[in-house]
């Protein structure tokens, strides 16, 4: 797919090479466009440009799609498009919050475990990750969400509690690898203290992993939020694609598919878009994959 000779990249930084690689990935660009489009939708909701009438009710029950109601209306006359659009913001909010905290926690714990590899600190942290990973994912998320019922951040905390371990394991492995490299040995020989070494020299070299992992956690968080909301453990007062699909369980019985189609379509496009984007980033940031492409 990539036919460009390797020598033309010699003057480019790794980041520039990655960007160049990404820009040539058409599927990745499509994914990025989808993500940007959703982001614009979210920004519009934040600024009150659209999605403001998501909770408004009317007398027009179960209407089909029309110019006034793009996805029709639900059983109590709410505009499904407005709800779907507003739910995009809810999904992104959950995705961003969970991603930021889960990645931060995973990065910190993974880096500590990797840096203190083969010590009791590593042992304890690995044990903790093992314990969390041993519990079935949705069971743990549901249990935490249920235990903290009523708390506005229950679902977010439940997901953060689960999602950080994968990041931590990846970072730990990367840190162990980086510790063996010459630049770290040189920094140690110069006499940098361990904290400086870890935070200034090792962790910055895990950025590519963090970016890739963040995209994966982001979309996983959104999917999990939809599932939890569908089960009644997620969003309560607001609206979510999961709640719309839950509503659809009754609508479908009555022969109305608007809620189901709208929520499923919005989720499907976002997941596809983010997966394309995530794959492309992974390809662009992973030097090994780039080399493989170049060999082809």
């Amino acid at each position: 797919m990539i036919n460009e000779p390797a020598h033309s990249r010699l003057n480019l930084s790794l980041w520039q090479q990655s960007r160049q690689h990404f820009m040539k990935d058409r599927w990745g660009i499509l994914g990025l466009l989808i993500v940007v489009l959703y982001l614009l939708v979210v920004i519009g909701v934040w600024f009150g440009l659209w999605g403001t009438e998501w909770s408004a009710i009317s007398d027009d029950f179960n209407q089909g799609p029309s110019l006034q109601h793009w996805f029709g209306t639900n059983a109590i006359g709410q505009d499904i498009a407005e709800r779907g659009i507003y739910a995009t913001q809810v999904a992104f909010e959950v995705g961003v919050v969970v991603t930021v905290f889960a990645i931060f926690l995973g990065l910190l714990i993974g880096a500590l475990a990797g840096f203190f590899n083969d010590t009791w600190i590593d042992g304890v942290l690995l044990w903790l990750m093992g314990v969390i990973d041993a519990i079935p994912f949705y069971l743990l998320v549901a249990a935490v969400a249920f235990a903290m019922q009523g708390h506005a951040w229950a679902m977010h905390l439940a997901m953060i509690a689960v999602f950080w371990t994968t990041t931590a394991r990846l970072i730990r492995a990367e840190v162990i690898k980086l510790k063996q490299l010459a630049f770290v040995e040189a920094a140690t020989a110069i006499g940098f203290n361990p904290v400086h070494l870890l935070f200034r020299h090792i962790i910055p070299n895990t950025n590519h992993l963090i970016i890739i992992q963040a995209t994966i956690v982001f979309i996983s968080a959104i999917k999990t939020e939809v599932i939890l909301s569908f089960l009644g453990l997620g969003i309560k007062e607001g609206i979510s694609w999961g709640l719309m699909i839950a509503e659809a369980t009754n609508d479908i019985q009555a022969g109305y598919f608007n809620n189901f189609l709208a929520a499923s379509l919005l989720l499907f496009i976002l997941v596809i878009g983010f997966n394309l984007f995530s794959d492309a980033i992974q390809d662009a940031l992973d030097p090994k994959l780039q080399k493989n492409h170049e060999k082809k």
Binding site: A75, G77, G232, K236, E237, L243, T249, N250, Q253, G255
Partner: protein
């Protein structure tokens, strides 16, 4: 090797196709040729099967089938008519209306239990009834039905105050002999006889209650037509009581009318002694779509009410009601307006929306409640959730009772956004200072939509979304408990009449009945209470009706409740089931008359 692989694929294909075979849409008659099984369904789960806690229609439905009550209702007669059940005849009432003498049937035995001598159920005696009523007054039991007899029976309230010692007598509850009960009242109580047909008055054996303790609620032992076999969160499984008294069914005496009841096969039940089933299963299916799937699948539940989301496919016409031929060809059906209603209520003990010690704030709170009521659109609710079939009426006296006032002002059930906004503004309520509005309800997709609609109404008078909170409970039992614990400032509930007398809804607002009693609103109005007490001793009359209507108006004026709507329920059941279902007036007695063809 390749042959083996193809053989394996073929086997898998056969297996898959066998799973795709068409479901026969005929109900399973029996699990064994000799066994008659009927699977009933209800949309909620009882929290306890102890009669003294049978405060929901779900509990009551099972309680009246496991236990005996002195009286019950004629199977088919409408309006509802009482009849003797465990009692031999209707009570002998003294001329002053203060003494009721009731004879009970001889030889009726409790279900077997190890707590009885040799594990064999002993005969019910008058003392069992007295014990059962006392239990409602034992503070340790946290009973829900004491309101029925509070300040009514001589010495009963004093017995409670004196420590609820079951070995001590109550002057107003006497067993004249083993089979004769005498109830003496402080003042005439015309509704007493109705109360004796309720699950709360079901007769329990003392030795079993004492042996099981709190477990009695899940392992009840009575003397009714069915014996509880299993009870869990999904269903209750009951077996026929083989020792149930032989009482051949007299269809005429039960109110059979060919015009109303022909075509259901009820005639085949005549002169046979219930129960007719070997096993009765009552499935608790909250989600309407699941209930409908289970019903239409053919081999699962045999009965359902038509869920909201199926009304457009079931109904061909709604005025008058006509069902789709596909439905009528496959199922039996009946319909009618419920003897009850749905309403939204405020917990007046909550200082945010209810009573406040500061008079000015108290007035503000009242204005807030009235504004919320004016924002509520019953017509829209009726169309969205009840297919426009419900009957909307003002106040708390529903059309199902004779005291209903068809000429009462409908102002309290009309949506008036301008008036609502004005009320809020005039009383200093603005978006910034509006209190958080908590909507407590049993968690389900349907109830969430009720919440969403209520939120929509509130939005229209300026209530911001962030101040409207959805508070779901995992089951109706948890929700009900929260109401009894005064944790729900605003709730959406239905009330099914216990007896055909408006007193039954008015008592929901009588001060002394405050939670954990039946007054979920914790409404305290001395003028209301005085009228209630005055009317409570009166026999049906124009004067009593006038008092009832005055009380109704007080509740409307105080904006305690957003009421109400009487639903029209459509019952469907499989054609091989002989029944005439009923969920009204302490529903459940009809289950003993169900048969499977």
């Amino acid at each position: 090797m390749a042959d083996t692989k193809y053989l394996l694929y073929l086997s898998l294909l056969v297996l898959l196709l066998s799973g795709c075979q068409e479901q026969q849409n005929t109900p399973e008659k029996n699990t064994a040729d000799t066994e008659k099984v009927y699977r009933h369904s209800i949309d909620g789960k009882p929290t306890s099967l102890d009669p003294i806690k049978a405060s929901s229609v779900y509990s009551n439905l099972l309680v009246v089938n496991i236990f005996d009550t002195l009286y019950s209702y004629q199977y088919l007669a409408r309006p509802f008519q009482l009849k003797p059940n465990l009692a031999t005849t209707m009570p002998q009432i003294s001329d002053d209306g203060l003494t009721y003498t009731i004879s009970i049937k001889k030889g009726v035995k409790f279900h077997p239990h190890p707590a009885f001598k040799d594990g064999v159920g002993r005969e019910i005696v008058a003392a069992d009834f007295i014990y059962s009523i006392k239990r409602s007054f034992d503070p340790k039991n946290r009973a829900s039905g004491a309101w029925l007899w509070q300040n009514k029976i001589i010495g009963l309230d004093d017995w409670k105050q004196a420590g609820a010692d079951y070995d001590k007598d109550v002057e107003g509850l006497k067993s004249l002999d083993d089979h004769t009960i005498q109830i003496s009242l402080l003042q005439p109580y015309p509704q007493l006889i109705y109360s004796l047909a309720m699950g709360f008055a079901a007769i329990t054996p003392r030795e079993v209650v004492e042996s099981l303790g709190a477990e009695f609620g899940s392992k009840p032992i009575g003397s009714g037509p069915f014996i509880l076999d299993q009870f869990n969160s999904e269903a209750a499984y009951l077996l026929r009581n083989p020792d149930f008294r032989q009482e051949p069914l007299d269809l005429t005496a039960e109110g059979y009318s060919a015009a109303r009841h022909e075509g259901y096969g009820l005639e085949a039940l005549a002169d046979r002694s219930p129960p007719f089933l070997d096993r009765l299963e009552v499935h608790f299916i909250n989600e309407s779509s699941s209930r409908w799937q289970s019903f239409t699948k053919g081999s699962e539940i045999h009965y359902t009410t038509v869920p909201k989301d199926k009304q457009n496919t079931v109904l061909l016409r709604k005025d008058p009601i006509e069902l789709h031929p596909k439905i009528t060809s496959e199922y039996h059906h009946s319909y009618g307006m419920e003897a009850g209603f749905v309403y939204h209520g405020f917990n007046m003990a909550d200082p945010v929306f209810g009573y406040h010690p500061d008079a000015a704030q108290n007035n503000k709170n009242k204005a807030l409640r009235c504004a919320i009521r004016s924002a509520h659109d019953w017509q829209q609710k009726n169309r969205a959730f009840y297919f426009g079939l419900g009957t909307i009426f003002p106040g708390i006296i529903p059309p199902a009772v004779p005291e209903y006032d068809a000429d009462l002002s409908t102002a309290s059930i009309e949506k008036d956004l301008m008036a609502a906004k004005k009320m809020l503004a005039d009383n200093g309520w603005q978006t910034q200072n509006l209190p958080e509005f908590e909507y407590h309800v049993t968690g389900s997709v349907l109830q969430k939509q009720f919440f969403e609609q209520m939120r929509g109404f509130l939005n229209q008078v300026g209530y911001p979304n962030q101040k409207i909170k959805y508070h779901p409970y995992p089951s109706f039992g948890n929700f009900n408990q929260a109401i009894k614990n005064r944790e729900a400032p605003f709730f959406f509930l239905g009330w099914t009449l216990d007896y055909p007398d408006a007193e039954n809804t008015l008592q929901l607002f009588y001060g002394p009945n405050q939670t954990p009693g039946s007054n979920n609103f914790n409404y305290q109005n001395p003028a209301f209470d005085a009228l209630f007490e005055q009317s409570s001793t009166m026999l049906p009359s124009a004067q009593r009706t006038a008092l009832y209507r005055q009380m109704n108006q007080m509740v409307i004026d105080d904006c305690v409740v957003i009421s109400g709507l009487s639903r029209k329920k459509i019952h469907l059941w499989h054609k091989n089931i002989i029944t005439f279902p009923d969920r009204e007036i302490v529903g459940g007695f009809h289950l003993r008359f169900v048969d499977v063809q």
